[in-house]
Symmetry: D2
Subunit: 93 residues, 4 copies
Amino acid sequence: MHGYAVDKQDHLRRLRRIEGQVRGLQRMVEEDKYCIDVLTQVSAATSALRSFALSLLQQHLAHCVAEAATKGSAEADAKVKEATDAIARLVRS
Amino acid sequence: MHGYAVDKQDHLRRLRRIEGQVRGLQRMVEEDKYCIDVLTQVSAATSALRSFALSLLQQHLAHCVAEAATKGSAEADAKVKEATDAIARLVRS
Amino acid sequence: MHGYAVDKQDHLRRLRRIEGQVRGLQRMVEEDKYCIDVLTQVSAATSALRSFALSLLQQHLAHCVAEAATKGSAEADAKVKEATDAIARLVRS
Amino acid sequence: MHGYAVDKQDHLRRLRRIEGQVRGLQRMVEEDKYCIDVLTQVSAATSALRSFALSLLQQHLAHCVAEAATKGSAEADAKVKEATDAIARLVRS
């Protein structure tokens, strides 16, 4: 079981809310809403995805990475490298 | 009719694909997929939202802002300020 | 003269302040300051660079892009495409 | 000695290069270079700051956070929370 499983319900709630935001965006486009208002909603959805990612990352660091650290520094280094690469993708997305 | 209406079908296609990505994320969490793989998918969905926003913004600048510019510099300045504020929200989200 | 020339002194002031922040970062690293404090300063410098870019962009849109719009839609489209590409690079940096 | 001390020379080299980029930006503004070219250089400097931050973060996770993990989960959790907050500031900057 991965670290985030304990917060599964919270994660699913966040993702369902984000799905609702993306569906709301489709409605806005269907109804020809003003571009700037659509963009504001895109920023809100992006921000919610970011918060979800950060919450997932925190649990990953607290569980998988911290656990690897207790098994030795080679395992910890590999996990840290993997996590940093994921953070890099996130920062640049 | 706002500038983006002409590309409405393209916008809706992109948003439906993003909705699919967010639903895919829910499946991954349900199935306890590895956190790093979930984070990679979050980055992909964020990146798709960014591309959608940039496409919307380009049309907004080409239609609404350019049109305002032909009506005089006060109108153009107001539209440019509004667009820049939207870009700032986007950059920081 | 480009649009931003009128605000040249403000731009230079901002950039000198950012240069000072980057020099402050070097001092922090020299003095082995705690990583998290260094990261906080990196975020502050990044944020200042973003604000500078947004201020420059606003003037570019208000001057170059708006001016192109008064010359016809082909010129406006080329300028808008160029500005959107710059915004895309900014968003992903 | 913090984790990043071992790579101090690499960090300082990166920061000096970023300082050079910010100074180059001042020259571009002094010489009234085209806004889009200035923006491209801002993106390059921002990207270099990001890379520096990620390199610092990786060392922090590999040293401070991993070390805390070997001392017990309360210490690890506090360090992970602190690192996640720093990542959040970074992502939003």
